[in-house]
């Protein structure tokens, strides 16, 4: 193993860096737009996981005949990741759907709604009064605006804060395990 003498000469790679760069840029521009990677992947994993630790009213709860529906409003850089996961989950267990929403009006039937930063006016969430919908976000004032779970970066990790009262007003209950793992729990 190890180093070997030049058996692949650089000269065989040709010249004309400008032409090559143009080719790369062309490739860049033609490729379809999708998502960024990074902390969003971990946030997406949280979003897919929360459903196991929340109880919905019986008439709204996901079950064998009613897939868990995750909606994404506003920034949705990880929606493709969630969709892929939804396909895998649905293939081997209870079904899961992921929807990209245009507004809160599209949230009917959504069990978990992720709201990107600045996707809504501050008062919009409270005024909408969504029932049986777990509201998750990652903006600074999300819990003050009526959100139930706020994802945040803390000490090199993704953590979450919870507002129990906001959830109960919407008819949701959190498991003790979720509350135990939260960085901060508001209410009650």
């Amino acid at each position: 193993m190890g180093l070997s003498r030049s058996w692949w000469s650089l000269k065989r790679l040709g010249s004309g860096p400008g032409r090559r760069l143009c080719a790369w840029l062309l490739a860049l521009l033609l490729a379809p737009p999708v998502l960024a990677v990074g902390e969003d992947e971990v946030k997406a994993a949280f979003l897919a996981k929360f459903g196991h630790y929340v109880s919905w009213p019986a008439d709204r709860a996901p079950g064998p005949d009613r897939p868990l529906v995750i909606g994404v409003l506003g920034r949705a850089s990880f929606i493709d990741l969630l969709r892929q996961r939804a396909r895998e989950e649905s293939a081997r267990g209870p079904a899961m759907q992921v929807r990209r929403l245009g507004s809160l009006d599209d949230a009917q039937g959504v069990h978990i709604l992720f709201i990107g930063a600045q996707a809504l006016e501050p008062q919009a969430l409270r005024q909408a009064g969504l029932r049986a919908c777990l509201l998750v976000g990652d903006s600074n004032g999300f819990l003050d605006e009526g959100g139930m779970i706020r994802l945040t970066t803390d000490n090199n990790r993704i953590r979450f804060d919870i507002d129990v009262d906001a959830a109960e007003r919407a008819g949701l209950k959190f498991s003790a395990k979720l509350l135990k793992l939260a960085r901060e729990v508001r209410g009650k």
């Binding site: 490739a27 630790y53 953590r159």
Partner: protein, 697 residues
Amino acid sequence: MKTWSAGILMTFAASAAMAEGADLFELSLEELVQLPITIAAFTPQRTIDAPGTVYVISREDIRRYGWRDLKEILAAIPNLDYFWHWHWLPGGQRGFTGNFAGTLLLIDGHEVQNLLANETFIVNDFPSHTIERVEVLQGPNSTLYGGNAAQGVINVVTRIEAGPEELGDAEFIAGEADTRQFAFNAKRRYGELVLGLAGSAFGSDQDWRELREFAVDTERFSRDPKRDALRNLDPDHYVNRETNRTLNGRLRYGDWYAGVNYRSFTSDKGMEKARTDFGGGDLARRAYTQWFAGRNFAFESGINGFVEAVRLRELNRKWAQINLNRAARTYDEVVSAVEYSEILPSTRTTLKTRWNYSFDAQRSLIAGYDGWRQKMGDSVVLRDRGDGVFQYERTAGWRADKSSSEVNAAFVQYSQQWNPWDDERTLTLVAGLRHHSQSYTNNALLPRVGLVFKPDPDQAFKLTYGEAFRPPTSLEFEGTNDESIESQEMLMWELNHSLQRPLWGGLINHSAALYEMTAVNFYERIFIPGESGSIGRWLTQVSGEHRVRGIEELVQWQGGDWLVSLGGRYLDPDKAEFMGRDYIADVPRLKLKAGIAYQGFAKTSLALFADHWSTTYTLANNVDNTGKEILAVPAWTTLSLNARFGPYAIGDARLHWAVYAENLTDRTYYHANARGTSPIQFQQAPRNFRLQLVVDF
């Protein structure tokens, strides 16, 4: 054209399934909460899952122990040596020494080695206030990271890159020796657009009484009568000033991103005054600006990756006292000859791309390409032609014919996990290979293979074999007539046990590694003092083969209000021989680190960190200057204390303040000089205090 074509084809072929984060979905909620992000496999994963040995120093560690900059943070790594000689931070990992020439330094994954020598260049210009975490990979990692990752990788992750999306804070530090530091972070999201800006300014006279007295102590410090006769040995003329500025910017819009890393550093070591290092510049300025832009991709079919272009522009300037008068025998005869030298602006343009594909939850593939074109500026000096007219001359020995170079490298890494026991035990194979082609040196095929056995999800036994290399640079050709210089090669075997699980109401992180690393064509730049008081010259020394065996351990427990860490290393390196006596050259065999932090008091937290180095041996001129001797640099233990208070509300802002005592026991301690240059030891800062204010807006 083959490599470029292959890259373009890869871009278009990206059409399978999105699954880089597939493993993340398999983690429990407890694991997600504790998931630290590492760079070890280019994808987010827990440190115990990453092949090899990885340390992550988090913002929490930095904040509680009160470390001011990267130098102080690196002291927490058990098997990393450095000596602070007040110009920059030379050192190495795992018992190897030099100018950190075998360590790859990254800022948010972008390489910022200096172009002249491909060295990790660290001064006081990495303020910890702007750092979210520091990731240190131990051992060869060239397969994924390319040249220079021979001893390991240091990745400085900034707050504006990986911290919260809404940031606004500032830090002020004032300390002894007229030390001042200001740093800030600002980050904001506007819909899809995320903007981040961080910067800092640092200045210090670094002129403690103990240091100025030591620098003119010819018996303890220099032991070189010829050169001492040409120095100003008046301690009142001692100058050791440093100032620097940094600015980092980040922009992200959807899948597109761009950024800039800027650093400017000025070191005034007293031109025409008392020198602290014969080889260093007297008044030097180094600056670089790095621009990068790229785009992330992820496709429904499961392939994801990025394409990125990077441009680094570097500047090196130096005003030096230089003895053009070869007949000079006194300091007064020397001072009239001051020379300005410069490496004219140098640039490196890099194109890199990497693609990941997960076939399923057990199998994944990473492939990528790195290529750069580099143009070194000439090394020039401004000289008097003799008629009072100054003009630039190319430095003697500078190899202008080696100033343009290029690299083309492609790599692939395959990972497969098995679950043959039908329980939670898993076995994972990670195998990678890089082909690296570079001007003026031999091509390289660099493999890395890791086998990770996890008896349960919280611990792993990792067996790793890796090869790495470090190619020569323009500086290493200087003064030679070689058409090519063979790359340094590093081979490593390592067995690591890592554990990360709840314990006593907290979380314990542990990593222990037993390793053997062998450097082939191990070389470093050494300084050969000149005759008759002339400055001398640098040469590339090839030392043949050097092997280091060692064991290193770091365990940390964090729970409630407590943070406790304990680390250490024990080395068994090849010994040097002098006058029939074997000795371990330039590095201590044993190092121990211990830290404890408590934040249970109202608005008060305390932290203590102890650092112990055993006796270090180095070859030095003997006291009567009749030859050389093996000098023992005594063992030392430093103790540093950080007391932090707050938060206090001031309107919407929150204020913390802290007092940091460095080297609390006030023991005089030294770092041995591991670069083969004189002087042979460097005194470190005596006990000193500093005050820190942090405001979060």
